[in-house]
Amino acid sequence: MREYNIVITGVGGQGILTAANLLGWAALRAGYKVRVGEVHGMSQRFGSVIAYVRFGEDVYGAMVPEGKTDVILSFEPVEALRYINYLKKGGLVFTNARPIPPVQVSMGLATYPSLEEMRKIIEEDFEGKFMAFDAEELALKAGNIVTTNVVLIGALTQTPGFPLSAEHVREVIKVSVPPKTIDVNMKAFDLGVKAAKEMLGL
C-alpha cells in the first residue's frame, strides 16, 4: 500500500495527540513506514487542533495534503468542518456529535452551524460521507469519558478499505494503555466498532 491518510481534529485537551500516537504505533507494529504530524504549545490550550497520521510505503512529510485524506476523525463536529478541505472525494468523516461552542459563540460574536448544515456541505460540496455519533456517551457507557478517543478509533477501524485490522488496533491499544484501564478502553473500542457498523450498515 502506497499511503493511507488520516486527519484527527478537535479541541485542545480532548486527547487528539494520544489518539494520533496510538494509531501511529498500530501502523508501525503492522510493519508500515509511519508519519504523525502534530502541533504542540499554545494552540493546545482549548484551541482548534489538527493532527495527521499517515502510513504506507510512500509517506515522507508529516502532513496530509489538501484533498488527500481518507478519513477525518473528529472529536467535535465543527472542527471536522474546519479541516474539510483535507478530505479526498469519497472520503469519510467520523465525528463525535457533541458540540463545544467556542467562547466567541457564547459572546454572540459568531454562530455555530447545525449538524445538518455541516452534512450538506460535506456531502454535496466535498463529496464525502458524514457520520456523526455521540462518542462521548459511548465512552461514559464504557466507564470513562476520557476513552472518547478509543471509541472514535474503534469506529475508524470499520472504514471500508482501512488497512489495519480491528483486532490488531485493539491489541495495540490494550498493550499501550495503563493496565488498570484496559477493561474500560476495550469496552470503549468495541462500542465504537459497533456504532460504526450500524452507521455503515455492515
Binding site: R2, V11, G12, N21, G24, W25, L28, K33, V34, R35, V36, G37, E38, V39, H40, G41, M42, S43, Q44, R45, F46, G47, S48, D58, V59, Y60, G61, A62, M63, P65, E66, G67, K68, V78, E79, L81, R82, N85, I100, P101, P102, V103, Q104, V105, S106, M107, G108, L109, A110, T111, Y112, P113, E117, I121, D125, F126, I145, V172, V175, S176
Partner: protein, 647 residues
C-alpha cells in the same frame, strides 16, 4: 507503546520505534555519549529538553533548566571547552538571546563536541517571527545540519558530535516545528557503556588565554581560522550520510531540496508521477558542499531549489554557479514562497510550475469550495484554561486600573489575555520585554521622574505590566533593575503560577526544583525587595477582590510596585490531582438566580461557561470546570454555586 522516557533509554539496538523528532534527538544525544545538556524551554524545542531532564539521572548526564538561552549556551560551552560532549536547545528566537556569546564563541572553537539545537517555527505556530536560523548560522560561520526525517534527526546528533570534534567547532542542528513535532519510525542505535551504566563524565579545562579570552588582540588571530573551518566543513559535507544525489542521472532538470523540503519534494514527484528528474538531497544547508554541486550540475539545463523561508541554499548555489561560469537558469524564491512553512501542496505547485505541468488535483477548486466553509465556521483561538489564575488577575487588573491604563505584557500563556473579553495585553515584544516597555511608556507619556513638568493626577497614564514567573527570571530581572534605578512609576504584576506553563510545566528558580533534586528556591518578592521596589505584595488571584485591592494599593505608590499574583497553574494542578485520584469542586448555575446579564461571559470569559441561547441563561460544562470559583465572585447575583456531591 511504551513510555517515551523508557524508549529513549532502551538498550535495544535495531529496535524499530515511533518517536517524536525531539525525542529522537534526545536518543541521539545519548547514543552520542553526551555529558552536559542545558536549555531554557521554548516551543518547538521543549520536548527535547524535557526528555533529557527525564533521563539525565539514569544516563549519568548533567541536565539543567537554565534561566535563559544565553546562560544555557554558556553552560554547554564551558563543558565543551572542558573536553566534554555538550548540547543546548532553544527555539529560534532563543538564539537571539544567546547570540552575544554564540557569535564570539565561533572564533574560539571547542574541544568536546558542542551542538546548538535550534528549532525554527515557519508559519509561526507558536512564535512571534519566522526568522531563519540557517541565515544566522551563515553570518556566524557555523555549520548547520537539518534532518529530513525523524531517523535522520537521531542519526545527525552522533555525527554532529563527531564532526564538531574533528574540526573543533560547534555545530547547529536545525529543526522546524514540523521536524521537531513529527513522529516517525526510527531504528535505535547502540548506547555507549557510560550512558548504559550512568557513569558521570568529568572534563579537563586546559588554560589557554589566547584561545579562551576574547580581547581584540587574540580574536584578530582567530577570525581567519573561523573562515578556514567553514571551508573544511564544506569539503567534509561533500561526502556525508545526509547528502546525496538520486533520481535520473541523465536528467536535464534538477531539484535541490534541503532539510524537510526533501520529504515534500519526494511526495510531490510521486504524486505528479515524474521520474526524469535529478534530485539533490541536502542535510547540510550551510555550508553547501561544492563538490556535490559539481556532480549534481553535470548535464543539467535547469535547476529548482525548493526550500522554506529564506533563500539560504539558493544564494549559495547561485554564487557557486556564477563563479564557475555556469549560466543555466536556477530557480528558487521566484517559484517557491518565502513566507510560511513548506507543505506537500506547495512543493507540488512549485515542481509542477517548474516542469510546466498541471497539479494532480485542482487545489484552486478545493479553495473555492472552502470559501463557503470559512464563512460559517466559528473561530476557535486558543484560550486561557478554565480556572486559569491569569484570568482572575487580568480581571482584577481591569477593574482596578481601567480606563486610563496601558498594559504591556510578555511571552507566555498569559499573552492570550490579548483576546476578548479580557483584553488586558496592549504590547508584547520578546521575553522580558514587558518591564522595559512599561518603563519606556512611563517616560514617553508621563515625562521625566522628578521634573516639574511630569504629568500628575488624571493627566498621568497608568501603566500595569504583566510578566510570568519564568519570564521574570529569564530577562525580566535586568529590566526591573533598570526601572527601579531610573525611578519609573509603573506597576509590575508577576503572574506566578509556580511553573513554566506554556512550554509544558518545567521548573524554574521560583519553584526551586531541578532534574537532579532540590535546588535553591528564589522568591520573586524577595528579589523585588532587594532590588529596591517601592511596593511589594503577594496575593492569591483566586481571591479576586483581594487582588484588585492590592493592585489599587500599588497604583497609589509613586515608584515601581511589584505585585506577585501567586497560584499554581490550573492545568498543572488538575493533572496532579487527576493522577492522585483527588476531586475538585464543580460549579453550576442556579437558573433562578441567573438574570442573563452575561458578565461571566462578556467580561470574565471562562471556557467552561457557555450561553444557552434558548434559556437565555449562562451554563457551565461540568466536564470543563476546574473549580476555581472565579465565576461565583464575578457574578453580581450569586448564580454560581459548587454542586453538591452526586448532583
Amino acid at each position: 507503546m511504551a513510555k517515551v522516557t523508557d524508549i529513549v533509554l532502551w538498550d535495544k539496538p535495531g529496535e524499530r520505534v515511533l518517536l517524536l523528532g525531539n525525542h529522537a534527538i534526545a536518543r541521539g544525544a545519548l547514543e552520542g555519549n553526551i555529558a552536559v545538556f542545558a536549555a531554557y524551554p521554548g516551543t518547538p524545542s521543549s520536548e527535547l529538553t524535557d526528555t533529557m531532564a527525564a533521563v539525565a539521572k539514569k544516563a549519568g548526564v548533567y541536565m539543567e533548566y537554565s534561566t535563559n538561552e544565553k546562560v544555557a549556551f554558556e553552560t554547554a560551552l564551558a563543558a565543551a571547552w572542558s573536553g566534554l560532549r555538550a548540547m543546548t536547545a532553544m527555539k529560534h528566537v532563543g538564539l537571539n538571546v544567546a547570540m552575544d556569546s554564540f557569535m564570539t564563541a565561533s572564533y574560539m572553537g571547542v574541544d568536546g563536541g558542542l551542538i546548538v539545537m535550534v528549532a525554527d517555527d515557519p508559519s509561526m505556530w507558536s512564535s512571534q517571527n519566522e526568522q531563519d536560523t540557517r541565515a544566522i548560522a551563515k553570518n556566524a560561520g557555523i555549520p548547520v545540519l537539518e534532518p529530513s526525517s525523524v531517523q535522520e534527526a537521531k542519526d545527525m546528533v552522533k555525527y554532529a558530535f563527531e564532526v564538531s570534534e574533528k574540526y573543533g567547532q560547534m555545530v547547529i542542528l536545525r529543526t522546524t516545528t514540523r521536524s521537531s513535532h513529527m513522529r516517525g519510525d526510527v531504528v535505535l542505535g547502540e548506547l555507549p557503556e557510560e550512558i548504559r551504566k550512568a557513569k558521570r563524565k568529568f572534563g579537563n579545562f586546559k588554560k589557554n588565554p589566547e584561545r579562551y579570552v576574547d580581547i581584540p588582540a587574540f580574536q584578530r588571530k582567530k577570525h581567519p581560522w573561523l573562515l578556514e573551518t567553514v571551508e573544511k566543513f564544506r569539503e567534509e559535507f561533500s561526502e556525508n550520510p545526509f547528502n546525496w544525489i538520486e533520481g535520473d542521472e541523465n536528467a536535464k532538470v534538477g531539484i535541490i531540496a534541503p532539510g524537510l523540503s526533501y520529504a515534500y519534494v519526494k511526495e510531490a514527484l510521486a504524486w505528479l508521477g515524474v521520474e526524469n528528474v535529478k534530485l539533490l538531497k541536502l542535510g547540510t544547508p550551510y555550508p553547501v558542499p561544492y563538490g556535490l554541486l559539481e556532480k549534481f550540475f553535470d548535464g543539467l539545463e535547469r535547476v529548482l531549489v525548493v526550500e522554506e523561508l529564506e533563500p539560504v541554499v539558493e544564494e549559495q548555489v547561485k554564487v557557486w554557479a556564477y563563479d564557475k561560469g555556469l549560466r543555466i537558469p536556477i530557480h528558487g524564491k521566484d517559484i517557491v514562497p518565502r513566507v510560511f512553512e513548506m507543505t506537500t501542496k506547495r512543493a507540488v505547485e512549485a515542481v509542477a510550475k517548474f516542469l510546466g505541468m498541471e497539479t494532480p488535483i485542482d487545489f484552486e477548486e478545493i479553495d473555492k469550495k472552502y470559501e463557503k466553509v470559512s464563512k460559517i465556521v466559528p473561530p476557535r483561538p486558543p484560550s486561557l484554561c478554565p480556572a486559569c489564575p491569569h484570568r482572575n488577575t487580568f480581571y482584577a487588573i481591569r477593574r482596578a486600573a481601567t480606563p486610563r491604563a496601558i498594559f504591556p505584557s510578555d511571552i507566555g500563556c498569559y499573552t492570550l489575555g490579548v483576546l476578548p473579553p479580557l483584553k488586558t495585553v496592549d504590547t508584547t515584544i520578546a521575553m522580558g520585554g514587558s518591564i522595559g516597555m512599561a518603563h519606556g511608556l512611563d517616560v514617553a507619556l508621563n515625562g521625566v521622574p522628578g521634573e516639574e513638568e511630569r504629568k500628575t493626577g488624571k493627566e498621568k497614564k497608568i501603566i500595569v505590566a504583566t510578566i510570568g514567573d519564568s519570564t521574570f527570571f529569564h530577562t525580566g530581572l535586568p529590566a526591573l533593575a533598570n526601572a527601579i534605578y531610573n525611578r519609573s512609576n509603573v506597576v509590575i504584576v508577576v503572574l506566578d503560577n509556580l511553573v513554566t506553563a506554556m512550554t509544558g510545566d518545567q521548573p524554574n528558580p521560583g519553584t526551586g526544583d531541578t532534574p537532579h533534586g532540590p535546588g535553591k528556591r528564589i522568591l520573586i518578592e524577595e528579589v523585588a525587595k532587594a532590588m529596591g521596589a517601592d511596593f511589594v505584595k503577594v496575593v492569591d488571584p483566586y481571591d479576586i477582590k483581594a487582588t484588585e485591592k492590592a493592585i489599587k494599593e500599588a497604583l497609589a505608590v509613586e515608584g515601581v510596585s511589584v505585585v506577585v499574583s501567586r497560584q499554581p497553574c490550573a492545568l498543572y494542578r488538575i493533572g496532579q490531582m487527576r493522577r492522585a485520584g483527588e476531586k475538585w469542586p464543580i460549579y453550576h448555575v442556579i437558573e433562578d438566580k441567573c438574570t442573563g446579564c452575561k458578565i461571566c461571559i462578556n467580561a470574565y470569559g471562562c471556557p467552561a461557561i457557555y450561553w444557552d441561547a434558548e434559556a437565555k441563561k449562562a451554563k457551565i460544562d461540568p466536564t470543563m470546570c476546574w473549580g476555581c470559583g472565579g465565576c461565583a465572585q464575578v457574578c453580581p447575583f450569586g448564580a454560581f454555586e459548587p454542586m453538591e456531591e452526586g448532583e
